[in-house]
Symmetry: C2
């Protein structure tokens, strides 16, 4: 099949040995200018392309790092990847992108695939299904550098990059309190995600700090627009007293919530204020614009890459350092009326 041109072909065509060709191609010092030029000319004439499989096998390194993300339909992970690329390309590494589709099994399969491709390190953001903690540990124990970002397994010792979800959640909820909201509820994220717990904790902290009860104020929701919509629709159907503010696990949930409220004839923010988390492209486009927490996505990618590079360049063995990035609470009209 794929009858690719090899250095053998070049050698034969020129009547010289393959080693000379090899040297000429990687322009070594000990090759006559004349022959190098001949080789280069012939290579381009035959449209030669090196076989990386062979090269990597020989070199015992691939210059590649693997990435496993749960999905790339939202713009969060792609933006992080851009940061990763930026840093890694500069260090002459290529990246191999893989997606787990939020499935524990696929994530595991990807880990194996990457390992078998001899990647030199892996950057992971876990699925919301969870359950691969043992596999992460085994991977790390096998000597492969691993870095987590955004969704990090609590029980695995490895370098991690995240924002202080708890503190930012607390800040977001305090913003609601400070603008006069007195009955705030939280639309929860997926139960298996550490970030869900962190944001919920921030919610509880903020209420506690201001002497408010958080008991019974948490509503299961999820991660998608529909999750928020369903959760709020159910709340409305219950018919009990409505809250005056909702702090949501993320932007899609917040937008779903807004949609359900509007459909029921309620006004945002006058009747109910809405706050999201992890600002995406939709935040500034919805009506009213959404108050939410902006994560430094590119920077998160850059940091994750740097943490990996630290290990790759051997400066440091598997440090289990956690890098905590600054995030920003962007206040918009979904939580404060225009005139305020």
């Amino acid at each position: 099949m794929g009858n690719h041109i090899t250095i053998k072909d070049i050698a034969k065509a020129l009547g010289i040995s393959t080693s000379t060709v090899s040297r000429a191609l990687s322009d070594a010092w000990d090759v006559k200018k004349e022959t190098r030029e001949q080789v280069l000319a012939m290579a381009r004439k035959l449209n030669y392309h090196p076989n990386l499989n062979a090269k990597n096998l020989q070199n015992k390194r691939t210059g590649t790092v693997g990435i496993i993300i749960p999905e790339f339909v939202s713009s969060f992970f792609p933006k992080v990847i851009m940061g990763i690329q930026e840093e890694l390309y500069a260090a002459d590494y290529h990246i191999f992108i893989t997606q787990s589709d939020e499935s524990r099994a696929k994530e595991l399969a990807n880990m194996n695939l990457l390992r078998e491709h001899m990647v030199e390190g892996i950057i992971i953001s876990t699925t919301n299904e969870g359950g691969n903690e043992e596999a992460y540990r085994e991977l790390i124990a096998s000597g492969l550098p691993v870095v987590f970002f955004n969704r990090c397994p609590k029980t695995v010792a490895a370098p991690k990059v995240l924002i202080d979800d708890c503190r930012m959640a607390e800040m977001a909820v305090e913003h609601l309190i400070n603008t006069g909201r007195t009955d705030i509820r939280h639309l929860l994220g997926p139960v298996n995600l550490e970030v869900s717990a962190m944001r919920a904790q921030g919610f509880v902290n903020a209420l506690g700090k201001h002497g408010m009860e958080s008991e019974g104020k948490m509503i299961p929701a999820g991660i998608f627009v529909q999750d928020g919509e369903v959760a709020v629709a159910r709340m409305l159907a219950e018919g009990s007293k409505l809250p005056d503010a909702l702090f949501c696990f993320n932007d899609p949930v917040a937008i779903g919530a807004m949609r359900a409220l509007k459909a029921a004839g309620l006004r945002v923010p006058e009747d109910i204020a809405i706050v999201g988390f992890s600002e995406g492209s939709m935040a500034t486009v919805v009506e009213p614009p959404l108050t939410t927490v902006l994560q430094p996505m590119q920077e998160m990618g850059r940091q994750a890459a740097r943490l990996l590079l630290e290990q790759l360049t051997g400066n440091r063995r598997q440090s289990d350092r956690t890098v905590c990035l600054e995030a920003t609470l962007n206040i918009r009209a979904s939580s404060v009326s225009e005139k305020e």
Copy 2:
């Protein structure tokens, strides 16, 4: 460095030959049950993982296909990729995702990288910079199966998957005409993209069909929210008579246009109707919801994958067949007032 376990290690540990190990691992028929079990046990004990570089080198095939997309921050390409995966995984291929970042140079670099990784085929959606036509032809001439989707180079003979951009654009504009709009303008996409030309052509066709002049009705815009915003702001600043409808190259441009109109105190759709193209997640979330053309993204991916598989499985040599998919005009409030 990466002191990976090899079949040699297994062989040595068991006092047998590497060939036997190899056979046991790929459970060949001619290996004693007992030894196979020993090998498997030892492999798992030593945490063995095959080296795909070596495997691929030997097998002369990688079971991998490469993908080059311009970006993955919008959800369009990721959704297409999901379709590609679906089809390709079923056929036991892996995919290698690569992004050109809309840059001609990066696209070229990716083509080479993929080729050197010995992918068995490549699926491409081109950059809006263009200019790699010669490279595509060379790639194809070298015997590598290539399929284009959505953004396809007009002058390159290869299988392509797209929707009938021209006809859908025409349909979208006719919708505006049929709802009583008489002065419609078009916010253009990037000049180097075939799809830009196609959608513009559809615009012209629709006007022509209804005896309207299209001369001077095309406004340069682009591809991002900001492009639409700037284009409309400029139009408003000119102070000449305003159109009563805008047909935009894509959704972000449409949303940018809407934003600029709102900022100027104009109402959508009462004063000016807006129609986008290539429905994304923002269409149903903006206010008012956007009339736009929904592309069958997953299906587009599946078709592209199938076209590639046709060539990979050798049923067909580089056919330059074009598959045209059905799209849908989703009419929403941005183009028709509620009461109509």
